[in-house]
Symmetry: C2
Subunit: 191 residues, 2 copies
Amino acid sequence: MSTENTHEFRVPVELKRSFVLINHGPTVLVSAHHAGRNNVMAAAWNMPLDFMPPKIAVVIDKSTLTRELVEASGELVLSVPTVQQVALTNAVGNHSGHDIDKSSVAQFSFGAAAKVSAPLVEGCVAWLECKVLPEPEISKKYDLFLAEIVAAWADKRAWVNNRWVFETQPNMRTIHHMAGGHYLTAGEVVN
Amino acid sequence: MSTENTHEFRVPVELKRSFVLINHGPTVLVSAHHAGRNNVMAAAWNMPLDFMPPKIAVVIDKSTLTRELVEASGELVLSVPTVQQVALTNAVGNHSGHDIDKSSVAQFSFGAAAKVSAPLVEGCVAWLECKVLPEPEISKKYDLFLAEIVAAWADKRAWVNNRWVFETQPNMRTIHHMAGGHYLTAGEVVN
């Protein structure tokens, strides 16, 4: 469940393998913290950007509170939600932290990250702790943020020997937003 | 099959809906053309960047021939391969056009795009014709290319009323690279 405490299953992922956590294109949750405020939003528009040091790219709209917190702190976390967290993902994606406290519209808990101030979203299947690479012109022009992954984690029930094993954990499959709150789930593996 | 002629099923997609074609994070094929040469590579690292005008972002390594062709022409096509094109995707992803003619290691055909010189890869399920947004510093520093979608197409067997219907077309499901030639396929829909 989205509020499940997954600490006991959370294991570190080597930085050089951390790109694999989002290589298959899941929708993610972007969280950030600044001056006592946390927020989280949904972002289908994310991707790996480099292997080592590992980097990611993510689009964060100017209208969002998360954007303000990311720009103020220079840090963010990408949490990878599961098929059990569709309602949570839609809820934090369809409301702005400027208007409401998102904990009033979605069931979730924040947990502490290891290397950044931004919080992890509990119950997800992977987490990428990131420090923003300062590229203010790119961010201003395209709402695009580039960041270095400084720590990475996965739930060991679905991540074995540095690869996803969703076939054994259907409840932990990642979700891939099409549009309008409709998602494709991670399906069978082909080689 | 990867060499299937899909012209009769190819329908235009409204630009304002074209982001949906890759919103769920599929691995794509990037093709380009310049001065009589075509090439194509695989790219898991791609995402939508904006709605209207629609834009995409894609990582294209400096070592690739496709990079040279994209930089020389300012144009590229993203073709979205299906579960029937895993071998093709791996083959064009694991060889460089600098070393070989990729048609010698993979079964595929190029078709003509409508608005750019870069070719479409036949047998795919969607195609985004793109003009590169000149951002040479970003490309040089991060191997990152931003481009505007100027025409978009989908195979009407899997794209109905501006949404994917893979549940009716399992052979046309998109593929999502994890690592090492292992892909997750697009699975069931959740709302």
